[in-house]
Structures are given as structure tokens and as C-alpha cells.
Amino acid sequence: MKAYSLILLLVLAPAFVAAAKLDLPEWEEEKEAEAFPLGIGLFPAGLVPATEEEPDEGEGGDRETAGASGEDAPGTEETGAPGRDGEAGEEQAPAPVPATAEAEAVEPLPPIEGDLRNWYFGLAPVEFLIDPQHLLTEQKSNDLRRFLEFHSDESNFHIYAMIVGETQEIPEDVSLEELHADWFGENPVVLMVYFRERPEKTRLVYNTSVQSAFDQTVFDRIRQNLLREGGATENAPDQVEKMAVELSIQLYWLTKLLERQIGDPSLADDTALARAATNEVIAPRVLRQDAPALFRDESTLRQWLRIAAQWAVLLSIVLLAGATSWLAAWVWRRQSPGGGKPLLFPECEISPRLGGEFSGGGFVGMSFELGDMGGREEAGEGFGL
């Protein structure tokens, strides 16, 4: 009896499985199903091909996806489980993703107007970093802010960095020079307007007094150096950080020049000095060797003494090394039995002694004890000669 029930169960099991139906969730209204196609919000429209072979959903394969440009992705109607549309065994290639889907994933930045304009240009900045749109990451913002604060502590020439989107433009009716004069007056400040991931669009605004103190080439060189640093990386936060650091370095040397000019106003007209200043901002460290007159803070005597001391130290090191090597060679020559040139002794008159022709019996002897050699060996015959 049990066997018959088991057999019956096995026979009817496939029928039971076929008849089973999963209770899937369904939309309460058909409209909602259309408003929320598969993958909405997670994937760009068009990335997921629309399928028309789903009779359970009640819709055909021509469903429009949100954000789609209206073009059906080629081959979307043909994709799906192989064999469903009647073409058995024929597999289709996946539909290519339209390019517009990737471009539209980046949200465009709004133009600088309205509140955004006020945030940028409404009031004088309180912090050294002006980023109302939070275009930099929080960590980079903090790092950059700390660096600009550190620079302001170390230098009188302050830096203010304004971060703007790559597609945004400064409003035409906004004059950065006037704003600079209005905000900072005659205080030595440079305003750096950085366009995200577009370092070539960076603008530097100086005081009018600073600009009039130097030739335009000086400021052009500064900007070139900044662009060089900014172009070294493609990451926006790193770009602005590198440019800020380079600007800090350039402003250090610019400050030096300013101080020198204040001490001697005639230097401002000196073309050679201007040229040197131009070269200086390019490579301030190298220029110290090229134009030492600009950096000579110490008197001539002290400088000569410093040079003499350096040469004396160098010479003493060389002499010490030479003496050490000579000493080592001399000791080695002495250690080796045949080291050195041949030595000749002067002849002298020798008196024979004890009748010996060559030797008079001069002898020095010593006793020694052998280790485990045992006792005396048996004497051999004669002397072995």
C-alpha cells in the first residue's frame, strides 16, 4: 500500500509543481507599473533593455523608460530569453548603451546667479577658502583651509582661494579687481579663482599697488608656475592644493622683492633687477646662485669667511682621507716582509772569531714546549744533510 502511494506521489509531483504559482507582488494600479520601469533611479535609462515577452506584467516590449530620449535601443525587442520570440537557438548580442545616458548622469552646475552669486561675491570672505558649492571633498577642504591659514600666519601676503565649477563663469557684471579692492583694500592679498578640473582658467587677482610694483611678466610667470603644478594631476582637490602651495612659494619670493624695493626704490626701475626678479619667481632656489646680489643679506667679509670655512672643511676632509690611506699603505708595507724598496746595508770591517770563516758563534736560543707532541723523538743519524 505504501508503495502504491509513493508511486502515485512521484507521478503526480510534476503536475503539482506545474500547477504551483508564486504569489508575486503586483501593482495595485496599472499606471504605477508604467511610472516605475525596471531599474529606475538605479541605472541610466536605456541601460536595461525593455522586454516585451512578459505577459504577466501586461505590457508589451515598447514600454518607454524614464529619461529615455525616445529611441529604442537597437535590439532591445530582440533581447530576452532565447527562443521566446520563436527564433529557437538564435542568440542576440546585448544592445549597446547610448552615450547620452552616461553624459546625463552628471548633474550640470547652475550658473552663478541669485543666491549662489551672493554666496560668492556678496560679502567679503571670512575664511581663506571660498567654496559655497562644496566642490571639494570635506577632507581636502579642511586641508586646504588649514594650509591657507598656516600661510597667512607665516606671510603677510595672504591667499584667498575661490572654487568655481568647471562649467560656470564669473558673471560679466562682476569685476574681480573691484571686489578685491573693496574687500581687501591695500592689504597684500591675492585672490585665486580656481575652476574645478580646469586649471588653465585659473585667475589671480592682486592689489593694484603690487601689480604696479612689478612688470606683468612677473605675474605671468607666477601663473605659469601655478598652471604647471596644477597640470601635474587631474584630480581637482589635488590640483587646487598644489597650486595653492606653489602660489605660497611664489608669494614668498615676491615678498622678498617687495621688501627690497621698499628699502631702495631705485631698484624698481632697474631692468636687471626686474629681469632677475622675473627669473627669481621661476626658480627662486636656483636664482640664488644666478643672482646672488639679490639675496646677499650678510656682509662681504662674512660671506668670504663662510666660503673660506667651507673650503677649509672640505680640504681637511680630503687631507684626512689621504693621510689615512697613506698611513694604511705604510703600515701594510711594513707588515709585509718584502714590502718596500730594497734596503742595502753599508759594508764594515769584520774581525773573525773562534776561527770561524763566516760566523763567530753568535747565537740566541730559546726553549719551547710542544702541545700534544709527546716526549722526545728518537734522534736521527747525523744532521740529515
Binding site: G338, I350, S351, G362, F363, S367, F368, E377, G382
Partner: protein, 235 residues
């Protein structure tokens, strides 16, 4: 200058020893009058390995280059009981022909190192010219340099160190001779030797001195120099 037989001081021009009458004649009577040939490194006891012998030859070659006048040689053997190492050195230097020695290196300029494995004694016999260059103290220091290896039975390293020390001593003497003439050195040496021929001090017992000398002459050298240092003022 000491007699190689009784080790008593003798005059630098004496034909025989004042004390025992020893001379080359007695030596010839005892050991023969023939001329013998020996190698520069004469290993009669066959104690040196080939490697030691080769290294020793290299050392002697370099010494001969540095000191073209000097003759360096070595005798390593087991001497009979009746043969004193000092007498043997005296006889050997006057009767040996060193194989390969140039004419410019007579036996006068020889420094002969002798090692007797029977009595475990080592010594350096000096020719007339070598005596001018190497003092007794320096020769003793040369032997002491090699003593640790001799005690351990390391003959190769022992002799290498010995000849190295000889080279250093001769080099130092060459530098000294640049400053003072060799005659001055000879006079200093003679003066030192003459100092040992002073007459006995008043009140000293001759019997005691003779007994002391007989005792030191009879016993083989044990842990000290062959040259018996006599008290000052005693013959």
C-alpha cells in the same frame, strides 16, 4: 759575544774561548770538516707540509728582494743528544753551502734559524755581518714572536712569523743606519760586549760564580735566552 759551547763571554777577536778553549777546530773535530749543502728551508725532520714550505719560500723570496745582501735560511731537525744547538749553528754556518744563494749573499750575512725537535729548542745563528745588524735582544724578540706557534706545533706559521719579525728588525735597522754609520753601531756592540768582561767586584766569591756558570753551561736552555746574562762586574 758568547762562546757557543760554554756561553761565556769572549772577546770579539778571540781565536778560542778563554773558558773552555772552544773554537772551530774543536767543532771540526767533533762534527767533521766537510762542506755540506743545504736548502734554504731544510726540513730534516719532515715536519713541514708542502703548503707551509711553499708559503715559507714565498716569504723568504720577498725578504731577499727587500734585503739583497742578507741570507735567510732555516734548519728544522732532530739533533742528536750530544749535539748542542748553538755549536751546531756555529758549525753549520761555517760549513754549509746554501743551495741557490748568490755570491752577494755569503754566509757572513746569514740569519740561520735552527729548531731542534729533540730538545725543543729554537735559535738563531748569526754570521759576522748579521751580528752587526741584529742584537741579542732583537734576536730574542724574534724568537718570542714565533714561540706560541712552536709550542702548538704549528711550524709553518711559526717560521713565517719568525722571518716576518726578522724583516721588521732589519728594516728598522736600515732606518737607524741612515742616521748613524755602521761603525758606530759596531762600537756600541763591542762596548756592550766589553761590559760583560769587567773584572769581578771586590768581595765576590769566585767559587760561587764558577759554580753558577758551570750550572748554566751544563743545563740546556729552558724558557730563556741562550745568552747567560751575567751580573754586572762579574766575568
Amino acid at each position: 759575544m758568547k762562546c757557543p759551547s760554554c756561553f761565556r763571554p769572549i772577546d770579539h777577536e778571540a781565536d778560542t774561548c778563554y773558558s773552555c778553549g772552544y773554537s772551530i777546530v774543536a767543532s771540526k773535530a767533533k762534527y767533521g770538516d766537510n762542506i755540506v749543502q743545504m736548502s734554504r728551508v731544510h726540513d730534516a725532520a719532515h715536519c713541514l707540509r708542502k703548503q707551509d714550505r711553499d708559503e715559507l719560500n714565498r716569504t723568504l723570496d720577498s725578504l731577499e728582494v727587500r734585503f739583497p745582501q742578507m741570507l735567510f735560511c732555516l734548519y728544522l731537525g732532530a739533533l742528536p743528544d750530544n749535539l748542542s744547538i748553538s755549536e751546531f749553528g756555529f758549525w753549520l754556518l761555517n760549513h754549509a753551502q746554501i743551495k741557490g744563494a748568490e755570491y752577494a749573499r755569503p754566509n757572513d750575512n746569514a740569519l740561520l734559524a735552527i729548531v731542534d725537535l729533540n730538545t725543543r729548542q729554537a735559535g738563531i745563528s748569526l754570521g759576522y755581518f748579521s751580528e752587526m745588524l741584529v742584537t741579542e735582544e732583537e734576536a730574542y724578540r724574534i724568537l718570542m714572536a714565533a714561540r706560541p706557534h712552536l709550542v702548538n706545533g704549528e711550524y709553518g706559521p711559526a717560521f713565517r712569523r719568525l722571518f716576518h719579525a726578522m724583516g721588521r728588525v732589519l728594516g728598522r735597522k736600515a732606518r737607524v743606519l741612515k742616521r748613524k754609520p755602521i761603525e758606530l753601531l759596531r762600537e756600541e756592540r763591542l762596548a756592550r760586549a766589553a761590559g760583560r768582561l769587567h773584572l769581578p767586584v771586590e768581595g765576590a766569591s769566585l767559587n760561587g760564580v764558577e759554580a753558577h756558570h758551570q750550572q748554566s753551561a751544563a743545563a740546556p736552555v729552558a724558557g730563556g735566552s741562550q745568552t747567560v746574562r751575567t751580573p754586572a762586574g762579574v766575568a
